[in-house]
């Protein structure tokens, strides 16, 4: 491209969107670095250095969010990556009702997260909920899904997977459909069965799709807020609090500096975990 022709495409086209993006996203993100080091009332601030961060990590009620967020992101991401691949393999094979099954799996992703959260917390009611009454009918005593401190976070994670696995599946389906049919035919001629074609063709060749799923699901998990808020509000106690729900609680309580520090921590968490992951996955993709 010559310099002349590039100049015909004026950067002025970026201005309308760029201004909105700058003022309402980039600027607050940069400002958060400063405000996270203040005691802040929106009208007035007092610089207190790293005090907010120290508070964040020294109080269990706050630092637990750090661990929970990581666990939540890893669990939801892993389940979506695995289930999505299995579902997509199934849904690209020779089965009846294919388009119905594809649609129904995708459908929950279009529903309101809050509505899904409320409906599932009703169904997970320990004594009356339909999940435990159904389990009781076949002789199993179901746990208190959202009230048991050991499993509450996992219960919410499962609902997250129920709602979000459709996106993973659709991405995988696109990836698998892009694989040339000839490979499968060649493998069949060589005497490979369906396991061999999954293991040696579908799995390695859907890697680009898998990378997209990993990144999307992992970042989504780290930033997750609405589902946990609709289902447990961080309870029982604060055992299911995520960084995002802690930010909201501190904001509600008027600790704006502390809430902003929470934001910066989330920001660092994403940068430290997701950016290297993204690079690593992209690098491997090139080698394939």
């Amino acid at each position: 491209m010559t310099k002349f022709s590039a100049r015909r495409y004026s950067f002025a086209f970026l201005i309308p969107g760029g201004i909105i993006y700058f003022i309402f996203y980039l600027l607050p993100t940069v400002l958060s670095l400063f405000f996270s080091m203040t005691r802040w009332t929106l009208t007035d601030w007092e610089y207190i250095g790293f005090q907010n961060y120290v508070t964040f990590f020294s109080e269990t009620a706050l630092s637990i969010g750090f661990r929970n967020t990581f666990v939540y992101a890893v669990v939801t991401c892993a389940l979506k990556v695995i289930l999505g691949l299995l579902l997509a393999t199934f849904l690209t094979s020779n089965i009846v009702l294919k388009s119905y099954l594809r649609s129904i799996i995708f459908f929950p992703t279009l529903l309101s997260t809050i509505a899904v959260g409320i409906a599932f917390s009703m169904m997970m009611h320990p004594s009356q909920g339909i999940i435990n009454t159904s389990l009781a009918a076949i002789g199993i005593t179901g746990p208190d899904w959202l009230g048991n401190t050991k499993i509450a976070l996992l219960s919410v994670a499962l609902v997250d997977v129920w709602k979000g696995v459709g996106i993973a599946t659709v991405i995988y389906i696109a990836g698998i459909m892009a694989i040339s049919k000839e490979y499968y035919e060649a493998l069949k001629i060589d005497g490979g069965g369906s396991w061999a074609s999954f293991r040696h063709l579908t799995m390695p060749l859907s890697r680009p799709a898998m990378n997209s799923v990993i990144i999307l699901a992992f970042i989504g998990g780290l930033r997750s807020f609405d589902l946990i808020w609709a289902m447990t509000k961080g309870g029982p106690g604060y055992t299911t609090d995520l960084v995002a729900s802690i930010i909201y609680k501190q904001y509600q309580a008027g600790f704006y500096g502390l809430a902003t520090a929470g934001n910066v921590i989330l920001f660092i968490l994403v940068s430290v975990l997701a950016f290297p992951l993204y690079r690593y996955l992209n690098k491997n993709e090139v080698q394939l």
Binding site: L14, I23, L42, L110, A119
Partner: protein, 277 residues
């Protein structure tokens, strides 16, 4: 023959699984939205002894001075405005960024845009900025927030689509004497229709279903959006599950309609966008 039997058996099992996993929750919400207060509080799936369709839905729509109706209006306005602005600004940005790809400055801009997909927005500083511009708690304010936060995703979608349009189109338009603006609006923008319609569907659903941003940036009784009605109604309806379920169903109707009509398009858009993004 065995193969065919197996095929149908697998299909039947798959259908039954979806029935348990997807239809049962849906049925649970519908049937309970039709019960009276005490029956719905049992949270079971029994058939109601009497139906309260009109009564329940009327009550949920008129509660708190028609809060839900006001919320529908606010959400509709917010969705339409955000999506319109989003399309206009991100199509322009995506076009120029793709055409200048590799040039000076574009790498930095692309990095800043990619960051928007990953880094969560800083909430209180955003409120501070909104407040300084007198946009806090206004429809325009929340609209601009939605645009800013969905900008990255849409720009990337447009960028990858523009790459499929040959540069010769632009060149012949330049030779015919059109400037950048005319080229874009009369020739390029209409060609972007497939990706524009994908964005209309995906972004309408995502803005309409957004809970977090209205919660922070659009508080106040008159400002309520549909997702917040559930939340605002919760304490009030703790003993009226029937009304809460009716509310859940009502706010699920718009996405449901979009899904029924544009199912295929949504899936296509998802795949093309996510794979390239």
């Amino acid at each position: 023959m065995i193969n065919r039997t197996r095929k149908y058996a697998v299909g039947a099992v798959a259908f039954l699984t979806t029935a348990v996993l997807f239809w049962v929750p849906f049925y649970f919400v519908i049937i309970n939205s039709l019960k009276n207060k005490s029956e719905s509080s049992e949270l079971n799936m029994n058939w109601p002894s009497s139906f309260h369709l009109i009564e329940n839905y009327r009550e949920v729509l008129t509660a708190s001075q028609n809060m839900l109706i006001r919320a529908f209006w606010n959400s509709a306005l917010l969705t339409v405005l955000s999506v319109l602005i989003l399309i206009l600004v991100s199509a322009m940005a995506g076009f120029v960024l793709q055409r200048r790809a590799g040039g000076r400055g574009t790498a930095t801009i692309n990095f800043l845009i990619l960051a928007g997909l990953m880094i969560p927005p800083a909430i209180v500083p955003t409120i501070w900025v909104l407040d300084a511009l007198s946009l806090f708690k206004t429809l325009l304010g929340i609209t601009l927030i939605e645009v800013a936060l969905h900008f990255s995703f849409c720009v990337i979608l447009y960028q990858s689509f523009v790459a499929t349009l040959p540069r010769e189109i632009d060149e012949s338009a330049f030779i015919d004497g059109s400037g950048g603006l005319r080229l874009f609006f009369t020739i390029i923008f209409p060609l972007l229709k497939p990706v524009t319609s994908t964005i209309i569907i995906l972004e309408s659903i995502s803005v309409f279903n957004d809970f977090v941003n209205p919660l922070y940036f659009f508080p106040g009784g008159d400002n309520v959006t549909v997702q917040l009605t559930l939340y605002n109604f919760m304490s009030m309806f703790t003993t009226s599950w029937n009304l809460l379920f009716a509310n859940i169903l009502l706010i699920s109707i718009p996405p449901l309609i979009l899904f029924l009509f544009f199912n295929k398009r949504i899936v296509e858009g998802m795949t093309s966008g996510a794979l390239k993004g």
